[in-house]
Subunit: 553 residues, 2 copies
Amino acid sequence: MLHSLSLSDVLAEHARSRPQVTAAVDGDVRLTYPDLDARVTRLADALAARGVTPGARVLWLGQNSHAVLELLLACSRLGAVFCPANWRQSEDELRFILDDLTPAAVIWQPSETTTPLHTTATTPPPPGSAATTPLPPPGSDSPTAPPPPPPSSDSPTAPALRAGTASGGTAEAGATRAAVWVRAGAEYEALVAGGAVRDFPQVADTEPTLALYTAAFEGRPNAALLSSAALLAHSTSLLVVRQMEPGFTFLDNGPLFHVGTMMFCLATFQIGGTNVFTPAFDAEEVCRLIDAERVTQAFLFGQMIDAVVAANRESKYDLSSLRFVSHSQEWDDMITVDDSPWCRSKMGGYGQTEVGGMLTFLGLAPGAAGFAGRPSPLAQVRILGPDGAEVPPGEVGEICARGKTLFSGYFARPDLNAVKSAYGWHHTGDLGRREPDGTITFIGPRLRMIKSGAENIYPAEVERALKTHPAVADAAVIGVPDPTWHQAVKAVVALAPGATATAEDIVSHVASQLASYKKPTHVAFVAAIPKRGFTPDYDALDTAHGGGNYPGA
Amino acid sequence: MLHSLSLSDVLAEHARSRPQVTAAVDGDVRLTYPDLDARVTRLADALAARGVTPGARVLWLGQNSHAVLELLLACSRLGAVFCPANWRQSEDELRFILDDLTPAAVIWQPSETTTPLHTTATTPPPPGSAATTPLPPPGSDSPTAPPPPPPSSDSPTAPALRAGTASGGTAEAGATRAAVWVRAGAEYEALVAGGAVRDFPQVADTEPTLALYTAAFEGRPNAALLSSAALLAHSTSLLVVRQMEPGFTFLDNGPLFHVGTMMFCLATFQIGGTNVFTPAFDAEEVCRLIDAERVTQAFLFGQMIDAVVAANRESKYDLSSLRFVSHSQEWDDMITVDDSPWCRSKMGGYGQTEVGGMLTFLGLAPGAAGFAGRPSPLAQVRILGPDGAEVPPGEVGEICARGKTLFSGYFARPDLNAVKSAYGWHHTGDLGRREPDGTITFIGPRLRMIKSGAENIYPAEVERALKTHPAVADAAVIGVPDPTWHQAVKAVVALAPGATATAEDIVSHVASQLASYKKPTHVAFVAAIPKRGFTPDYDALDTAHGGGNYPGA
């Protein structure tokens, strides 16, 4: 274990090396690294006493808080897995996560979606109900109570993570009932205060310690498991590309259930900087915190930056400590424009939760042809065809990865995990292309594929070409049955207001960019492309425009 | 193996991601990353055909060369271990390494110390000799010859590394004879050219791939084994602290057998930069190369910088590409003074080969009380007492470490390895103190060490040589202040009753056994060496004979 370095180990080192440095700020709470270390030790002990065994899951249902970092570190100390869930989800979606993750403990903030879950979970089942699992002692109400007896062997509270057993998916599963529920705030504080200061056995840094739900391939999300080793490797890559130094202060105003904010929270933690937590984005509060805490960077882009500029138009707040990306002149005048590769490249790159955050960085590829840039110093990328063979530069294939930042698979999805790691490479599910200068272009998700005359055609690639036509505002591509070629390509196009273009114009534009077999042979013009979230609603498009004959269907 | 990332893997990624980037420059040789990748593949194949199996050792006896990087990468591709030996050592010292490391292949440059070794190794033993190990086919003379048959099971050519068996220490061991010897230059080039392009099985990044001799605790050095995982973790820490970016060009003018140059060679490799190799330090040539190759950083400090300034007093060379530490006004005017934490802190910190290079960085601890600074983001440090318990801040104990950059133990030293990793922490053998601000002060070696011209000299090793002189009854070695080299070696000698010897006799005797820089430049004759128990009383010797300027406080 000489080579193991967990998040818990880093915290212990910071407590030794940085006794006076502020680790976390959250409203009135200010914690030095020794403060944080002591709280995490007590929290770990208290969770262990309530049945959080190695491999068990701890769920957070709430907004951003220093408690999120504490719970993650306590789980690392215990060898447990922490999951901050997306609190914006519906009650049904959160219930799915409870049943899927079967957490041993839930720390929750009341809301119209979480309160019904808590009520279900803590109400004894009616007499004669099939759910016979005994409720644990009411740890959420009396955090200093003695530890509960170990769960009986048939209790679903904490199945061994390593077994990789798929949990049941029924909404009223006993697992949901069996968890200890602790309300954020006073109850959580009492939980921490009641824990003992003691030593914990060393936990290997290859054990999963963070679970983030993502990748709803088939309509329901999957929990990507990230180990300490992967999280710290990814953090280190951010230290390199963002040129982070001690004293770095990050404002956690983006959602911590998303890897985009979590990855910078952890990089700031790793370099011994200060995390400032705020529940969610509020432009005025962001300005106030940047000024008060001399924040170095925040989770800001696009419209959020415009909102901050608008909120500070009177220069009420001094934002000069922020070292961040150039945006508008007004913004650039308020902050310090930063020259690190990360900021120079406007945070360009390609990533996903399953690789710990970023897999490639535009900042590592000045003058790149491919706008996703080059891989992290701790990862490898290959563009693979469906047969697992590398496709030549210039051709589209699936972006596949190996390296220190990669996840440990999805929780309880053995079949999906086998598919995703085929041929010894993690398959991102995204299409990309290696350019002649070796850099990567991200094409789009590999969700759909059209098969025409034995050729694979990816709608995302054709759509990308369609959208470069000046008259095209939006476009989607489907496959329609074809008597000769099995399928033909059909473009559904929404023109820009006032613009005109013929079907021939559109087709010849695509043909000028892509191999001829990829060009649409049918074009339909519509007012707007139906969407499901940010992506085209292909099912609706197929129904409306005659799609069918897809491969593998 | 989804999480494994070896040096060989990084090279393969660079060949994909950086097809036009120059990886290595060495005289007339210029190699892009695809060039380097192809040569390494051929070299790996050629070495495998000559008996370099996984775990086998490959020894380099020569000055700096692009071949050093190629051999390291080929060993990584094969799962073998590469050792660049200190070519300044005596014939006797190099013979010890040959016998200790039992390399399967030796790549050598002729010199007055290496040529006799080659002659011994390649001359058949006289008839009736005890050494019956058959010579391998003359691969060094016919590199395109078919591969030799696999070694017989009793051949000492390549004992399994994992077995950790100590090799014999006899000068005429069969192991020395059994190695394939390849002369650097044309023979090496023919070896590379004769290798085939093929795939190699993936090698776990936890396998040792680099061996560097160091730590002559008891008079003889030990080979510290470093895995790809440790080397890349350490490189990443340098990327962070030195804020290295793609385009970084490093001039390898320091010795590559020393971790101080090797670590920057590898960090430059990891970020996809360019390594420029030059055989050894020459001020004028350093200036020429910085100018010609737009070098970002070189292995320069103190007197070397003064020599460069003197060589460029006429401003014949443009050194402005160098982004390096501030030194003198003249120097600062020639170069671009760099603001990275590494350069700001004047490369301050604490390290040793066994931790991959640097364990702590002053650049990570602005305003530190302890001049060694704070640990690498990928390591932990504790100051432990002899009982393995942490000593409180302010008290001196042994600097102990854990983390991603740590070595895998010494080659074939199971007993020493057990001692060095007592209580689950690597014991550096150096004393340190945790200051109230959490930073580290390096006090000095727990055993004595002399630092002369940046070289480590272990008194035990010099004393061992002194005592082999027939007139010497006892001897002790101290370091005395030296205006040029910081310290000089002073021998305190007690002659045997009735024996006579001059200082010159003593010095030339040591010089015949050890590298020249280790020989005493001062000799004092005494009746008896003062002792503390069985070891010399070094404090009394320092007081009586002017010792001082030891490394550390």
